[in-house]
């Protein structure tokens, strides 16, 4: 099914532009054309259909659903909803406060917010098309686990002690009030769903297309210009220190999943072990300074520092475990 994109790249680069498939430049450009066209077509088609299905899911309904849930189930569902509920990252703070003032524990709210950047429909689509379903399943499980375990840990250390005082007060009030009755589920007509899906597709595509170009461009550069076997020879054994280094390198690189996944593909194909690659990518996507500065509005420095350290440890552990379990995938 994806062969058409290989053929298109063959035709454009080798036939039309007359570059040889044995040159580095030819290979890099071929990789670039094949991947960008494939990703663009997939994104437009799939975002539309996914949006059609989830048109009536929004953060208000998730909040009402999570409020008053038992903690154990809450972490799992918080992470699950984080993966599938659409929201703009500029809404993170209002969502945090909305959940908190409904009395939802900080850990469950953070399970939702941590999972969200790691897993979303664009990331899953890219993984499926570039790295195959096995890797995709592993990625989703690991992403959910970060949210669930992270949330559990935050509640275990009573993270709510270190909220800003107004947020702590809102949580206290929310706990004492009886959980709000659920909002009436409005049924959506097909034309309203189509309208939502159309807008969603345009918006998401408008936001991510440049990331795809940047990501695939970097991937192509790695593919074409890092000497064959260099990564494998130098980092291929998954030496223990490569994982924390990958996490540290990932922090200042602020990107979203769309930009990072094509780079992942290239790194893995060049022989970087799967654990090191996962650690690098998750750190790039989920631990970014701009997001943390935003969270300062609702959390004290102490909690921010704990959260940051927690993520760094989590990604390093994930990297080590995967390098140990799957030396070559």
């Amino acid at each position: 099914m994806f062969q058409i994109f290989t053929q298109l790249a063959d035709w454009l680069i080798y036939d039309l532009a007359g570059l040889s498939s044995s040159t580095k430049v030819g290979q890099a450009l071929h990789f670039f054309v094949e991947d960008t066209t494939k990703i663009f077509v997939l994104l437009v088609v799939m975002i539309y259909f996914i949006a059609l299905i989830r048109a009536s899911l929004n953060v208000e309904r998730v909040r009402d659903f999570l409020a008053g849930k038992h903690r154990g189930a809450g972490y799992l569902m918080g992470a699950g909803f984080g993966a599938v509920t659409p929201f703009c990252s500029c809404s993170s703070i209002p969502i945090f406060l909305g959940f908190t003032s409904a009395g939802i524990p900080v850990g469950i709210t953070m399970a939702f917010l941590l999972t969200s950047p790691l897993i979303n429909e664009v990331a899953v689509l890219l993984l499926l098309s570039l790295l195959g379903w096995k890797f995709t399943v592993v990625y989703i499980l690991v992403g959910m686990a970060v949210g669930i375990v992270g949330g559990f840990f935050l509640d275990a250390i009573k993270a709510e002690r270190w909220l800003q005082s107004f947020a702590a007060k809102a949580l206290e009030q929310g706990r004492n009030n009886a959980p709000a009755g659920s909002v009436a589920v409005e049924s959506m007509s097909m034309s309203a769903r189509h309208q939502f899906a159309k807008e969603e597709t345009l918006e998401i595509f408008g936001r991510v297309w440049k990331w795809v170009i940047i990501g695939v461009g970097l991937g192509a550069a790695l593919h074409g210009f890092v000497p064959d076997g260099w990564i494998e020879a130098n980092l291929g054994d998954g030496q223990w220190w490569t994982v924390p280094s990958a996490v540290l390198v990932g922090i200042p690189l602020y990107s979203n999943a769309t930009g990072v996944i094509p780079v992942m593909e290239s790194l893995i194909n060049n022989g970087l072990p799967i654990g090191t690659t996962l650690a690098f990518c998750m750190s790039t996507v989920a631990a970014s300074f701009p997001e943390f500065i935003l969270l300062k509005q609702v959390m004290q420095w102490r909690l921010l520092a704990i959260l940051f350290a927690m993520l760094l440890c989590a990604f390093t552990l994930i990297g080590w475990v995967f390098n140990f379990l799957f030396p070559v995938m």
């Binding site: 703009c88 500029c90 703070i93 909305g98």
Partner: protein
Amino acid sequence: MKTIKVLGSGCAKCTKTAELITAQAAELGVEVSVTKETDPQVIMGYGVMRTPAVVIDEQLVHSGSIPTDNDVSGWLQG
């Protein structure tokens, strides 16, 4: 005069929403005062979780996206 607040953390969409309302009000000749509200505490007070949101004379009328031209002219003339 209508007092209009655009709630949001100062992202591009919130700025656009405020501009849209100001422009439409000028076109329709409706007197308004448009302010942007970025304080998370205030936003929480209106129970808003998806920004940008629009509050007219202390009534929440919209949340979660840039409103359409039709929405805006409806509020201004309503």
